[in-house]
C-alpha cells in the first residue's frame, strides 16, 4: 500500500538509479525528455543564458548557458488550478544523480494514483540556482534580474508548495532540512513540522543545520547544542543567500524547503525506498490542503527540529536595543533645546546654531556618496583594476570593495575642509540625525530579516550611543572599526566555521572572507539579494556618520 511495495517498480527504480550513477557530461536533456514522456508526463524544456558580472570562483562559471527540463503530471479529476513542485538540480558530473532518479521513480508511482487534486511538476534544473531563477521568472512572467530565457510552454496553475532534493552521495544516513531562503525569508513552520513528523514515523534520522535531535534538552550540553543550532540559523539567515534551490520560491509566496541527504558514515543507512516513502507522504499531505500553508509562523528561529522560538519572543530583544538609540536621541534633543546657563554668550550661540545645517548636510551627502561608490565601483572598474594589477577579476572586485571601504575612514579629515568650523551644537545635531537614521534603518531591516537586523544592532548600537568627539579618540576609533560591518562579517566567518566544527586558520579564514564578499555581490546581481546594497548604500554611510562625529573638530 505504499511506494515500491510492488517488486517490479522496485526493480525499475534500481535500474534507473544504476543508470544514472554512470557519469554523464552536461545535462542529458534528450534522455530526460524521453524518460519523462515514457512515464506519462507532459514534458517541456526551457533554455536560458546569463553572463555573470564577474567570474564565480566557487562554482567556476562565468558565461552560463543551460536547459531546464520539467514534466507536468496532471491531476486526474481536478481542474488545473493548483500545483506542487518537486525539483532536483542536475549538474555536470554525477552529483545529485540519485535525486533525479528518485524524482523519476516518484513520477512513475504518482502517475498511477487517482487521489491527486493538484498538478505535480517534476523539475530538473541545470546550474542550480541560476536555472531555478530562470524557471521561476518564466513561470510567473517576471524579469527582475535581467536573465535571458525562453518562455515556458506548459504551466500547471498556481504553485502551493515546493520541495527540492539534494542527494549528493550514493549512501544516505540522515536527511537534513534547509529552510533559509533569499533575503532571510523562511517557509511556513508547518512545512518543517511536516518533514519532522514523517521522519519520526518512518524512523529516518533527521537533522537541522547538521545537528541531530536529542532527548535531554534540559541538560547543559543539550542547551548548548540548541544555542549553537540557533546561532547557525541566525548566521545563515543574516547572510541573505538562498541556501538551497528552494530559497528562490519563497519570494513568490510559495512555501518551499530543501531536503539534503547526508552521509555521515553510520552503521544504519537509509535507502531510496524510505526516502521515496517520506516524499510520498509529504506530497499526499500537501495534496490534502485546500489553502496555502498559513496557520503557523512565518518568522521563527529553530534551536532544534522539535522546538522553535517565535517572533513574539525574539523581537522584544531587538526592541530593547532600538530603545537605546531612541533614548540617546531624546537625550540629545533635550540637550539641544535647553538654553545654556550663561547669558552673555547667548547671542553668539544663536548665531552659531544657524549655519549648522550645512555642516550637517555635508557629512551626510559625502557619506552617502561614498556608499554609492562602494556599491558601484567594484563591479564597474574591474577591467581597469585587472589591467593595472596582477589579480583575477573576482579578486579585483573584492579588493576594490575593501579599498573603498577603508578609504572612507580618511574622510573626516577631508570633509572638514569644506564645512565651517564645527560647533558643540553641530555634532549634537548630526548625532541626533545619525542615531534616528540608524534606529529606523535597523528597525526596517529587523522586520524583513531579523537576524541581519539583530547582528547589526548588537554591533552598531553600543558605539552609536556612546561616541562623541570627547571620548578618547584612539580607543574609540579602534572600537568603531572593530564593530563596523566589514569586521563583523570577518568575525562572523570565523565564528560560523567554529559552529560548524570546522575551524579554520587565519589564512584560510581570510580567503573565505573574500569569497563571502564576492558571493554576496554575485547574489545581488543574480537573484536580487538585498544584503549587499543594504550594507553598501545605507549601513556603511550611517557608520561613516558616526566616524565623522568621532573626529569632529
Amino acid at each position: 500500500m505504499g511506494l515500491l511495495s510492488d517488486p517490479n517498480r522496485r526493480r525499475a527504480l534500481i535500474n534507473l538509479l544504476t543508470r544514472l550513477n554512470a557519469p554523464i557530461c552536461g545535462m542529458p536533456v534528450d534522455w530526460l525528455v524521453k524518460t519523462m514522456q515514457a512515464r506519462g508526463l507532459e514534458v517541456f524544456t526551457q533554455s536560458f543564458s546569463r553572463t555573470l558580472p564577474f567570474p564565480d570562483e566557487n562554482k567556476e562559471r562565468y558565461m552560463v548557458k543551460g536547459t531546464n527540463v520539467y514534466g507536468i503530471l496532471r491531476a486526474p479529476r481536478a481542474p488545473r488550478t493548483e500545483a506542487l513542485v518537486l525539483s532536483a538540480s542536475c549538474s555536470p558530473g554525477d552529483e545529485n544523480n540519485q535525486a533525479v532518479g528518485l524524482l523519476l521513480g516518484l513520477a512513475q508511482y504518482f502517475r498511477n494514483q487517482i487521489y491527486f487534486a493538484k498538478d505535480l511538476i517534476f523539475l530538473v534544473n541545470e546550474h542550480d540556482l541560476i536555472g531555478m531563477q530562470a524557471w521561476l521568472e518564466g513561470y510567473h512572467h517576471t524579469n527582475t534580474t535581467g536573465m535571458d530565457w525562453t518562455p515556458l510552454h506548459g504551466r500547471g496553475g498556481s504553485i502551493q508548495a515546493a520541495l527540492s532534493l539534494e542527494l549528493n552521495s550514493h549512501v544516505v544516513t540522515s536527511l537534513d532540512l534547509v529552510l533559509e531562503g533569499l533575503n532571510g525569508q523562511l517557509p511556513n513552520l508547518d512545512l518543517a513540522n511536516l518533514f519532522y513528523a514523517f521522519c519520526q514515523k518512518l524512523s529516518v534520522l533527521c537533522t537541522i543545520e547538521g545537528k541531530l535531535q536529542r532527548n535531554d534538552w534540559d541538560s547543559v550540553s543539550g542547551y548548548s547544542q540548541a544555542v549553537q543550532t540557533m546561532m547557525l540559523m541566525v548566521m545563515k539567515q543574516a547572510s541573505g543567500r538562498p541556501w538551497g534551490d528552494h530559497g528562490l520560491f519563497l519570494r513568490y509566496h510559495i512555501e518551499a524547503a530543501t531536503i539534503k541527504g547526508i552521509n555521515s558514515f553510520r552503521q544504519d543507512k537509509t535507502d531510496a525506498t524510505t526516502i521515496g516513502r517520506l516524499l510520498e507522504g509529504m506530497y499526499r499531505k500537501l495534496n490534502n490542503l485546500l489553502e496555502r500553508l498559513h496557520q503557523s509562523y512565518f518568522f521563527y528561529l529553530m534551536p532544534s527540529l522539535s522546538n522553535f522560538v517565535s517572533i513574539g519572543y525574539y523581537m522584544p530583544a531587538f526592541g530593547l536595543l532600538a530603545v537605546i538609540l531612541l533614548l540617546r536621541a531624546l537625550d540629545l534633543w533635550v540637550q539641544l533645546v535647553t538654553p545654556p546657563p550663561r547669558n552673555e554668550e547667548r547671542v553668539n550661540d544663536i548665531a552659531q546654531s544657524c549655519p549648522g545645517v550645512l555642516s550637517i548636510l555635508i557629512p551626510l551627502v559625502i557619506s552617502h556618496l561614498t556608499g554609492v561608490a562602494l556599491y558601484m565601483l567594484p563591479v564597474r572598474f574591474q577591467e581597469m583594476a585587472v589591467e593595472h594589477f596582477p589579480v583575477s577579476e573576482t579578486e579585483a572586485v573584492v579588493l576594490t570593495a575593501i579599498a573603498v571601504y577603508t578609504a572612507g575612514l580618511a574622510l573626516p579629515h577631508n570633509t572638514h575642509r569644506y564645512s565651517s568650523e564645527g560647533t558643540e551644537q553641530g555634532w549634537r545635531v548630526l548625532k541626533l540625525v545619525a542615531v534616528l537614521y540608524l534606529a529606523v534603518l535597523l528597525g526596517c531591516t529587523a522586520l524583513i530579516n531579523f537576524s541581519l537586523g539583530f547582528i547589526l544592532a548588537l554591533t552598531l548600537v553600543p558605539v552609536a550611543a556612546f561616541v562623541t568627539p570627547h571620548v578618547p579618540k584612539v580607543l574609540s576609533a579602534f572600537a568603531l572599526v572593530f564593530l563596523s560591518p566589514a569586521c563583523t562579517l570577518l568575525f562572523s566567518v570565523f565564528f560560523y566555521q567554529e559552529l560548524q566544527e570546522m575551524p579554520v586558520s587565519f589564512q584560510d579564514g581570510w580567503i573565505l572572507y573574500l569569497s563571502v564578499i564576492s558571493q554576496g555581490i554575485l547574489d545581488h546581481y543574480l537573484y536580487g539579494s538585498l544584503v549587499y546594497p543594504l550594507i553598501a548604500l545605507l549601513v556603511y554611510p550611517c557608520w561613516l556618520l558616526f566616524w565623522n562625529i568621532l573626529f569632529w573638530k
Binding site: 479529476r77 481536478a78 491527486f116
Partner: protein
C-alpha cells in the same frame, strides 16, 4: 371475543407515546477533506434512521462538503465508516437536501423554525406538527457554547435553545431528541428551557471528542469515537426492538470514548426508561391485525360535553398563525407618530450652545437664571 377484549384493553397503550410521525434533521457542519469523519458520522446516522423506517421525505440531510466525489478520495463515490472499508455509508440512494455552502446557520434555523421562503421545495422543509417526534443530530467542530459552521460562522447554545422554544410555541414537535458529537458538546444543551427535550452529547465541557481510526489507504480519520459506538449500538436495533433510552445513554463509556458522554433528561416529561429508541430513530407504525371489530367509544373522550357542564370554561381554538399576512401589508395605513422628547444629539447641541454662551459672557450670569 376475548381477543377483541384484549385489544380493547391495550388500546390505551397503543397511543402511549403520543406521536404519530417521525422526522430527522441530520447536519454535518464542516468542510475540507480532513473532516471526512464528520460526513461519515452523519451518513452513519442517516443510514440507521433509514433502515429503521424513516423515509427520505421525512429526513432533512445537510452535508457541508462532498467527500464521496472529492478529488482527493482514492475510492470515488464512497464514504467509509470503518477501516478496511467494510461499510460504505454512502450507498446508492443517499438524498442530500442541503449541500455545500447551503449549510449555514441561517438555513439550519430556518429549517427548524419553518420560516422558509415560499419557493423552498418540500424536500428542504421540516414539515412537522405537534405529533411529530424529531431527531436532531449535529456534528462538526465545536467549543464551549458554540458549534462552528463551515469555518466561517458559529451557532451558539442560546440561539439553539431559542430556536427550540420557537418550535415548541409553534407546536412543531411532540418530543425532540438532540444528539451532538463535537468537542465540549455538553455545553450546547446547557441552555435548553423548552419542555419535552432530551439531549445527548459526546463530551463534557472542557473535554475533546476524539476520532476513532485513521485509514491508511484513504489517509484520513474515518469516524469519531462516539458515533462509531453509537452506530454499533444502532446496528443491533430493529424496528420491533424494545430497547429504551437508558441503554442509549450507556453507549460509549469513558473507557472506549476517552471523553465522558453526557445526557440531559430533566425537561423530558416521560420517564426515559419507558422511551423506546425506535420512538426517535425509527418510524414505527403500530399495526395489529384483528378479525374482530372493536368499539373505541370508551377511549376517545368527548370534549364537546364539557362547556355544557361548566359555562365559564372557554373552548380554546388552535389555528396556525398567518406567516405572511399579505392583505394587511398591502393595505397598511401610515402609523401616527407620537411626540417624543428630543434625543441625545439635540440635547448635546443645546448643552454646547449653553456652554459657549456662558464661556463668553462669564459664569456670573448663571445666577440670573437660578
Amino acid at each position: 371475543h376475548t381477543a377483541g377484549c384484549f385489544i380493547t384493553d391495550n388500546v390505551g397503550q397503543f397511543f402511549s407515546s403520543g406521536h404519530t410521525n417521525n422526522w430527522a434533521v441530520l447536519v454535518c457542519t464542516s468542510r475540507f477533506w480532513f473532516n471526512y469523519r464528520h460526513v461519515a458520522n452523519t451518513l452513519s446516522v442517516y443510514r440507521s434512521v433509514k433502515r429503521l423506517g424513516i423515509p427520505d421525505s421525512h429526513i432533512v440531510l445537510m452535508l457541508a462538503d462532498d467527500m464521496a466525489c472529492n478529488h482527493r478520495n482514492p475510492k470515488p463515490a464512497t464514504v467509509f465508516s470503518h477501516k478496511n472499508m467494510e461499510l460504505n455509508v454512502y450507498g446508492d440512494d443517499v438524498e442530500v437536501d442541503y449541500r455545500g455552502y447551503e449549510v449555514t446557520v441561517e438555513n439550519f434555523l430556518r429549517v427548524l423554525t419553518g420560516r422558509l421562503p415560499p419557493s423552498t421545495p418540500r424536500s428542504k422543509r421540516l414539515l412537522s406538527d405537534d405529533r411529530s417526534n424529531i431527531l436532531i443530530y449535529l456534528t462538526g467542530h465545536g467549543g464551549n457554547g458554540f458549534l462552528k459552521f463551515q469555518d466561517s460562522e458559529e451557532i451558539s447554545n442560546v440561539e439553539l435553545a431559542d430556536a427550540f422554544e420557537q418550535m415548541w410555541q409553534k407546536r412543531r414537535y411532540n418530543e425532540l431528541l438532540f444528539i451532538i458529537d463535537t468537542c465540549q458538546g455538553a455545553s450546547m444543551y446547557e441552555r435548553f428551557y423548552s419542555p419535552n427535550l432530551m439531549a445527548l452529547a459526546s463530551s463534557q465541557v472542557g473535554e475533546d471528542s476524539l476520532s476513532h481510526q485513521p485509514d491508511v489507504g484513504i489517509g484520513v480519520h474515518l469516524m469519531d469515537r462516539y458515533t462509531f459506538y453509537l452506530l454499533e449500538f444502532l446496528e443491533d436495533i430493529h424496528p420491533a426492538s424494545k430497547t429504551c433510552m437508558n441503554d442509549l445513554f450507556k453507549v460509549c463509556p469513558k473507557s472506549q470514548c476517552v471523553s465522558t458522554p453526557g445526557h440531559r433528561t430533566d425537561l423530558f416529561l416521560r420517564d426515559p426508561g419507558s422511551v423506546l429508541v425506535t420512538d426517535f430513530f425509527g418510524s414505527v407504525r403500530k399495526v395489529e391485525i384483528t378479525m374482530d371489530s372493536i368499539n373505541l367509544t370508551s377511549v376517545v373522550s368527548h370534549r364537546k360535553e364539557e362547556p355544557a357542564a361548566n359555562g365559564e370554561l372557554q373552548k380554546e381554538v388552535y389555528s396556525y398563525s398567518d406567516q405572511l399576512p399579505v392583505s394587511e401589508i398591502i393595505h397598511q395605513k401610515p402609523k401616527q407618530r407620537d411626540w417624543h422628547p428630543p434625543d441625545g444629539f439635540i440635547l448635546g447641541l443645546w448643552t454646547l450652545i449653553l456652554l459657549v454662551f456662558f464661556q463668553t459672557y462669564g459664569i456670573k450670569h448663571l445666577k440670573h437664571i437660578f
